[in-house]
């Protein structure tokens, strides 16, 4: 359980350690006020049960003092709370931001760390983060109740040590019992969380795949599956809750039992008059508050294993070279003003001459992937990767860019080895337009720039053959696009992605099957503009393209033909047609399809 204290320490410092400690100090008096309240009640009841007629005015003053004490406590709560909210949100934000920053920027292939469904990662950022913040927050509660408990026990021991000792013993027993229950609770909790995530994952899938479900009329089947997931989650959650409640009961019961013990042991003393009614009132009063000590200890003790689960689950989202220190690193929050803009990447001093991948190997579970693929791209060249479905074309470019982890192989930039392609082969060296691009619910401008300078925006849009589309949009570049904005067609999204990559003015532009959603005219125009720009230096000089289209293959300086994860041949199109059977097979297929229309449309 070592990682949990580290995370908690980090969270305590997330909005400044001073703020956490100050907030804690603000809270502590809240726990101490009842000590005074108990002493006032003791005096009051001793007066009431005294032999001489009680002094009513004195008693009423004591009552007034009791009420006044609580007013001060109320003010204290409001002040400390406002402080606590800031700390709580700062701690939660720190965890979320650290995990996200790791996923988005740390070395290594990030996508491999994410669980299958996006809903699952989201559930961790929501529930596990809140678990960890909660346990750190509980620490203040624990300190407060311990402070109260300690003081109260000293006062009680001064009155009657035997009775006080009899009270402490069941509490110790409860604490031991809850330690023992800890492992069970940890297991139940993990299971409940996992089954909860299965529900969100299924829902996420269903909403993402709504078109397929609707057109197949499969809504009922999807709901039936949801019911099955729900049932499993319900059973696990009820069990999780029962275990937690049992622990809670054990701690509460100790206090009730303690009260019984007070009565039992105090009976003879009461009989002799050495234990007064005022003492009993004080014990009764303190006992109610003492409930909080085993309760908060119990809560803390069962949340600690939950926090360990949460730490582990969040840790799995972080890069392998990172540990809990990175998870809980104090990275700053910006709640009252905007965060400072991200500085532009410094111009890199080493423009591309040649990038080379050697023996690139990626093994997927089911025996596919890449097997010792070599790739060499020289400045100013147009390289095309081609091959049949599932032969590893996309995997090759993604492995080169560090988006999937390499099982073997090296990548060099101008002859020097690239340690982590995922963080090195980024703008301004390389930019990437992926096969299934995503736009965010934001303005088109924000989607294209993503923090980059806008001086190249117009050029990039023109190069990507996206300018007429932008002109047609209701608010031009300020149009909100993405899931919650204006619908763009598949081709528009791909051209937007190309523009997004071009804005970054990379040495090497990597394009994965960009042309697949484009019609003939738009596609031709796009390739011509890119070629022109490469010639006169307005665009990236070097291109790496995944494609099986004639237009791309004929333009290529170099083609890499993949077959089942291996290089079946490489070279110019005419060389390959000469000596590569796989290329001939692919080419005939493409020619057949593309020539059908021209040769004789009446055939078939």
């Amino acid at each position: 359980m070592r990682p949990v204290p580290t995370v908690m320490a980090g969270l305590a410092r997330s909005s400044g350690l001073r703020r956490y400690l100050l907030g804690g100090l603000l809270w502590l008096p809240t726990y101490l006020f009842p000590i005074g309240g108990g002493l006032l009640l003791k005096r009051l009841f001793d007066q009431l049960s005294g032999d001489r007629a009680a002094d009513l005015t004195g008693a009423l003053w004591l009552c007034a003092a009791f009420a006044g004490l609580e007013v001060v406590r109320g003010l204290n709560i409001v002040t400390a709370w406002a402080y606590g909210v800031y700390w709580w949100e700062a701690a939660a934000t720190t965890l979320r931001v650290n995990v996200l920053r790791s996923i988005l920027t740390a070395r290594g292939a990030a996508a491999a760390r994410l669980p299958y469904a996006p809903g699952e990662a989201l559930a961790r950022l929501r529930d596990d983060v809140s678990d960890l913040v909660q346990v750190t927050d509980d620490l203040v509660d624990l300190a407060g109740t311990a402070l109260f408990g300690g003081t109260a026990l000293v006062i009680m021991a001064a009155i009657d040590p035997a009775v006080t000792l009899a009270l402490v013993l069941p509490m110790v027993a409860a604490a031991v019992l809850s330690r023992l229950l800890g492992t069970v609770i940890r297991r139940l909790h993990r299971r409940a969380r996992r089954l909860g995530a299965a529900v969100t994952a299924h829902l996420g899938d269903a909403f993402a795949g709504i078109l397929a479900i609707k057109t197949a009329g499969a809504e009922d089947a999807v709901l039936a599956r949801l019911r099955a997931h729900n049932r499993r989650r319900r059973n696990a959650a009820v069990r999780d809750r029962l275990a937690t409640d049992l622990l809670d009961t054990v701690t509460s019961a100790t206090v009730e039992i303690g009260m019984g013990i007070v009565l039992l042991i105090a009976a003879p003393a009461m009989h002799h008059g050495s234990f007064t009614v005022g003492d009993l009132a004080l014990f009764t009063g303190y006992l109610g508050w003492l409930t909080a000590l085993p309760r908060s200890l119990g809560t803390f003790l069962y949340r600690l294993p939950q926090a360990a689960v949460a730490t582990e689950r969040l840790g799995r989202l972080m890069a392998p070279h990172e540990d809990v220190h990175d998870l809980a690193r104090v990275s700053g929050v910006w709640f009252r003003r905007d965060p400072p803009p991200v500085p532009a990447p410094p111009p890199h001093p080493d423009p591309l001459k040649v990038i080379e991948g050697r023996g690139l190997t990626v093994r997927y579970g089911c025996g596919r992937g890449l097997d010792a693929v070599d790739l060499r791209i020289e400045r100013g060249s147009f390289t095309v990767v081609t091959g049949a479905v599932g032969t590893g074309k996309t995997t090759l470019v993604r492995a080169l860019l560090g988006l999937v982890p390499l099982d073997a192989g090296t990548i060099t930039w101008n002859g020097r080895p690239v340690e982590d392609p995922g963080t090195y082969l980024v703008p301004g060296r390389v930019a990437y337009a992926s096969q299934i691009p995503r736009l965010f619910s934001d303005s088109l401008r924000e989607n294209l720039l993503l923090g980059a300078d806008d001086d190249r925006l117009a050029t990039a849009i023109r190069l990507a053959a996206f300018d007429t589309d932008v002109a047609d949009m209701p608010d031009g570049l300020d149009t909100v696009v993405g899931p919650r904005g204006v619908r763009l067609s598949g081709g528009q999204v791909q051209r937007a992605t190309a523009a997004r990559a071009l804005v970054r003015n990379p040495d090497l532009l990597v394009v994965d099957d960009l042309s697949s959603a484009l019609d003939v005219e738009t596609e031709r125009s796009l390739w011509e503009r890119l070629a022109d720009a490469a010639r006169d230096g307005r665009g990236p000089a070097t291109l790496l393209v995944v494609s099986h289209r004639r237009a791309a293959l004929e333009r290529a300086d170099r083609i890499v033909v993949l077959d089942r994860g291996r290089v079946a041949g490489h070279g110019r199109l005419d060389e390959l047609l000469e000596n590569c059977a796989e290329m001939r097979r692919l080419w005939t297929g493409e020619l057949l399809i593309e020539a059908e229309e021209q040769a004789d449309p009446t055939v078939r």
Binding site: V85, E89, T284, C366
Partner: protein, 591 residues
Amino acid sequence: MHSPTRPARRDAGKTTQTTVLGCLRPGLRATAALAAAVTAATALPLVAPQLTRRFVDDAIGGASTRHLVFVAVGYLILAVAGQGARTLTAWLASRLAWDGTNRLRERLAEHTLGLDLGFHGRRTPGELIERVDGDVVAIAEFVVAFLLDVVAGVLLLAGVLVVMLTVEPRVGALLLAYCALIGFAMAQAQRLAVPSAARSRARYAALFGDIEERLAGLEDLRANGAGEHAVNRVHRASGRMYRAEFRSERIGSGLLAGTSVAFAAGTALVVALASWARWSGTLTVGTAVLLLQYTQMVRTPFERLIDQLRQYQAALAGVARVRDLLAERRTLPEPADPRPLPASGPLGLRLDGVGFAYADDGAPVLSGVDLTLAPGETLGLVGRTGSGKTTIARLILRLYDPTEGAVRVGGLDLRNADPASVRRRIGVVTQDVQLFTASVRDNLTLFRPDLAGDRRLREILAEVGLGDWLAGLPDGLDTGLGGDAVGVSAGEAQLLAFARTLLTDPGLVVLDEASSRLDPATERRVEAVVDRLLAGRTGVLIAHRLSSLARVDTVAVVDGGRIVEYGRRDDLTADPGSRFARLLSAAGVAR
């Protein structure tokens, strides 16, 4: 299997309010068991202070130690039994809450799945998860707490008041009046708090919507070096959430502190009254202790009640958002007199002066579209990106109803056709294939195990050329596929989509860009599958690649939401002045 649109009619007479409550209402036996447990959990602690009073008065009165011990043991037994009853209540309550909220989740999911693509297009899956699951979790937590802390707490409070009224009517009456006053004040304050809690929850949902989008677009962000920038955006969204949260929590903490003060003032009042009664000699010391104990007993449930009030705000905000979601109307009205499409054979297709505009902006996407397709014929739709081809496809699939004109399939206006038969008889393969985090079998049948047996599934996979792929999977049809198509290339996903469509026996097939991500070698394999799919069926084929149109009978060229050219493919190809022929020659020049 009932149709996806039928629930719309089922709800017609109900308000969404009763839907939420109806889902949460437990069964009779469960309610009875819970009621018994709650009663025990309330009654047992109520009896305990009576024993304390006996103890104090008897001790002062000089009773034997044996008698005092006897009373103390009785107290112990009561205390333990009370705790047991409380645990039982908690267990029963959480079972009830989960059953009820699961029903609500399922109801919401059903409703949301029935909403049109326009609705889904405007919301991320993450946002919808938050609304179907996150809001319901808040409600579930509250329901458990409600049964435990609110119902049990109020019962205990009532019990204490009743007992106090019997023991010491003056003090009891005062406490009753005091509780009523505080209860009223709390209810008023609580009403203030709801809107700010709703705002805070909305910000929370927005933050997670943002994060979800960033995670989905992870590779685009990383490869473009925009990771830090995305983190910055999350900082901003977190800041907005904090500001909403701060306002909402300030009200919540004020409530908590206010109650605490009010409670202490109440205790002081009771004790002052007891002192006065003791002074005037009408009250024993034991009764004074009893009054103090009861007053203190009220404190915990009262404070929990207030604590729950904050959860109640969240739950109420959740309920409000659930109601908003349920209030989203479906745009495809259920036919008054649904008639099934012909059960077998190819279906004719006719679009009569069809126009369409999305409800939210009203800008026309299609206008005056006329198309006629005899059963068994295949139509090719050609046009630039964004020209309206996909919208035509969605109208044919009845994902939307046209705003003008009519779409007729098998001679039947789709608005009058039985929706279940529409889903069964009209199939589609779309450009974006969504795979589910589920087995290959579930991905093919879309969770309908009765749709086809394993043998049929294997046959179909072999037919689309995925036989070897299936053989390479570790668990065959049971192999789990990832939501992000782990281990499945885009081309393979496309082939799986073909297999999905082949499984049913549609009479009309829409292929929207179906082969766009396939390379030539695989495409030739698929062509055979497409030929088989189209044999004896009516087809609508949308492709940017002119070569894909080799098999169509008629061609319609779409531009700016209108059909600008329409005729037999052979005639259009032969006429050098046609737009289609010019497109063909443009393709020839380009290549």
